[in-house]
């Protein structure tokens, strides 16, 4: 029973992380319908930037964290500006293959600089965040994940719901031409959605790094795990991404715990194929509102 509860907790935490990682992906998809295959590399960029700041530059945790977020924001902005802006109006297939190329490029850079070994952050989370009750053990990092994750969700939820820039971003996702006719800066919106997505990705990268250690290959693999998550949740639903993430996370940990550890990493993709077969728009994906 304890094993079950422990798996449940692990699954939810891991899944929550997947959901967070997927959030950035969904944001890009919603605003510009680009499937970003470089998402894992954005995660890795954040994780390694934080690592470099903490270990090489010896910065305290909080400033390092904030600088990393800012750095990721700028990175997303620059990536959009340099690589995606020239492709506006080109067939989508080029844009998607461009992200495949970017993924490989980023991965190469990170491997050249940091190598393929497993790195770890110094231990910095306060231990009071951990919960120990009987056999059940919730390490501090999971609690921290939950807190950071919920904060981000709340902040972005409010941002998209109420701020004017958030409304503009949604309007572009909804009907680009109409947004353009009203003077919404569509290009700015694209750049901003990449920047925010990179920021969220960087943050998830850091948390993933705290839990699993920081390794380029692992992080980019998680970037691909975003696909089962978003297909399950519905490609264009941010809430769906979180719930899809939790389901995938639970599936993974339970398969790992009860069936076989090696099956763990494939289960999401089996689910993906299954979902594509039976419910292609996912659990929360919007089908077009057909009238109008």
């Amino acid at each position: 029973m304890d094993f079950f509860v422990q798996l449940l907790i692990n699954g939810i935490s891991v899944g929550f992380l997947y959901g967070l990682s997927a959030m950035g992906f969904v944001m890009i998809f919603k605003s510009s319908s680009v499937l970003n295959f470089a998402h894992g590399e954005l995660l890795a960029m954040g994780a390694f930037l934080f690592l470099a700041l903490v270990t090489w530059a010896q910065l305290p945790i909080l400033p390092a964290f904030l600088i990393t977020l800012a750095g990721c924001f700028v990175l997303g902005f620059v990536v959009e500006r340099l690589f995606l802006r020239p492709l506006i109006g080109e067939p989508l297939i080029f844009v998607i293959m461009l992200t495949v190329g970017l993924a490989s490029m980023f991965k190469g850079i990170l491997l050249l600089i940091f190598g393929g070994n497993l790195n770890t952050y110094p231990d910095f989370l306060p231990s009071f965040l951990g919960i120990q009750r009987g056999m059940i053990n919730i390490p501090p990092v999971y609690t921290a994940t939950l807190i950071i994750g919920l904060t981000f969700l709340a902040v972005f939820g409010l941002f998209f719901k109420y701020s004017s820039q958030g409304i503009y971003m949604r309007s572009v996702a909804d009907n680009q031409k109409a947004a353009l006719s009203l003077g919404v800066h569509v290009k700015l919106v694209f750049a901003l959605s990449w920047a925010i997505a990179a920021l969220v990705a960087g943050m998830s990268g850091i948390v993933l790094g705290i839990i699993n250690g920081i390794n380029v290959h692992d992080l980019s693999a998680i970037g691909l795990k975003v696909f089962p998550v978003v297909i399950l949740g519905g490609l264009d639903s941010i809430g769906g991404a979180i719930i899809g993430g939790i389901i995938i996370g639970l599936l993974e940990t339970f398969t790992g715990g009860y069936l076989s550890p090696s099956l763990r990493d494939v289960v999401p993709y089996i689910v993906l194929v299954f979902i594509l077969l039976v419910k292609p728009y996912g659990l929360f994906g919007l089908k077009e509102i057909e009238r109008v």
Partner: protein
């Protein structure tokens, strides 16, 4: 029989029928040079180049077959596959299993492996074909991981991480082993597969693929059953991958699952983009480019490491990440600056030669 005159460079558009538009060679000039090229390829190349270079050329040939298959899918049908590397692996394993368990001869095992791969590919094509957009890309991504897993973990069939060792291939009693005899096998196969592909895209199937690529809704409106054609295109592309994989398996003698990862799939995508989307000859250029690039990088890293430039700093320059980076860069640069790839560059160069000095 109608007497035909040789045509060299027509100084205008003299095409009178649709058939003229469909010819592969615009002029007899092109036909002539293609023939010369083939003669040099088969009669000269294998006898003059060094064994290592011959090995590289063979690898180019195998990669070109797989890349042509991927180009039919990406370049002509407008669907992206991220599982081409895994399908290549399916072909390799299928050939290995056929050759070891039922003693299938080379000539049978290779096409059979291609067909098996096509069937496996179509399984992953089914969930995506019903949907518009880029779901095939995602499904093939899943395919890549699931196939990789099966190749490693279905031990009774694939011998797991041990891998399978293949018997020496032979064609009606003549054993083929060594780079030179494989050179002929690979390049005859490449010529055949290129010929099939070029002619395929000129048929109703090819036109249907192109229609789906350009506007699937309009294609459907014109009565093209999109799902069937997408699946067919995907099957053909997987067949090419499996075919190439099978030859690769016989050439390499032993097969393990490691090479068939996502990186290989991305490599094939790079070949197709760099070569030129929707251009069969372009895939061959792409295969040459990528394979040659790998060799240049290999040489470069070896040279730098051995020259001692980094020996003192403890900095370890590895081939793999550099290769990864350069491939990514190549994809990005080509998409941004010459999305039609090397084939287009080649066309521009050629026509500027032909039209020189009066380019208008």
């Amino acid at each position: 029989m109608k007497k035909r005159t040789l045509r060299f460079h027509p100084c205008g558009n003299y095409k009178e029928r649709y058939d003229d538009e469909l010819t592969i060679f615009e002029s007899d000039f092109g036909r002539f040079w293609a023939l010369v090229g083939l003669i040099i390829l088969f009669a000269v190349v294998p006898y003059v180049v060094s064994p290592y270079l011959l090995y590289v050329i063979n690898m180019i040939g195998i990669a070109a077959i797989a890349a042509i298959g991927l180009n039919i899918l990406i370049g002509y049908t407008g669907q992206i596959s991220l599982g081409h590397g895994a399908f290549f692996g399916v072909g390799a394993y299928a050939a290995a299993i056929l050759a070891t368990t039922v003693n299938a001869p080379f000539l049978l095992a290779v096409p059979a492996a291609g067909i098996i791969t096509a069937l496996v590919g179509m399984i992953f094509g089914i969930p995506s074909g019903r949907l518009k957009g880029l779901y095939l890309t995602i499904a093939t991504l899943a395919g890549q991981f699931i196939i990789e897993y099966i190749l490693i973990h279905w031990e009774s069939l694939t011998k797991g991480t041990m891998g399978i060792t293949l018997p020496t291939a032979d064609i009606v009693g003549f054993p083929i082993s060594g780079d030179k005899s494989f050179f002929f096998v690979i390049f005859i196969a490449l010529c055949l597969m290129t010929w099939i592909a070029i002619n395929l895209v000129r048929t109703k199937f090819g036109r249907a693929f192109i229609a789906i690529r350009d506007n699937d809704r309009a294609a459907e409106g014109m009565g093209i059953p999109i799902f069937r054609y997408k699946l067919l295109s995907f099957g053909i592309s997987s067949f090419y991958a499996g075919f190439a994989g099978a030859i690769w398996a016989f050439y390499m003698i032993s097969v393990t699952a490691e090479p068939f990862n996502l990186t290989l799939s991305v490599e094939y995508i790079a070949m197709v983009i760099i070569g030129g989307l929707g251009n069969i000859a372009g895939s061959i250029y792409g295969a040459v480019f990528i394979t040659a690039l790998t060799e240049v990088l290999r040489w470069l890293t070896d040279y730098l490491m051995n020259s001692g430039a980094f020996a003192t700093s403890g900095f370890n320059l590895n081939l793999a990440p550099l290769r990864e980076f350069v491939f990514g860069l190549a994809i990005v640069v080509f998409i941004l600056f010459e999305p039609r790839g090397l084939a287009e560059i080649w066309r521009i160069v050629r026509s500027s030669f032909r039209l020189w000095p009066f380019s208008y």
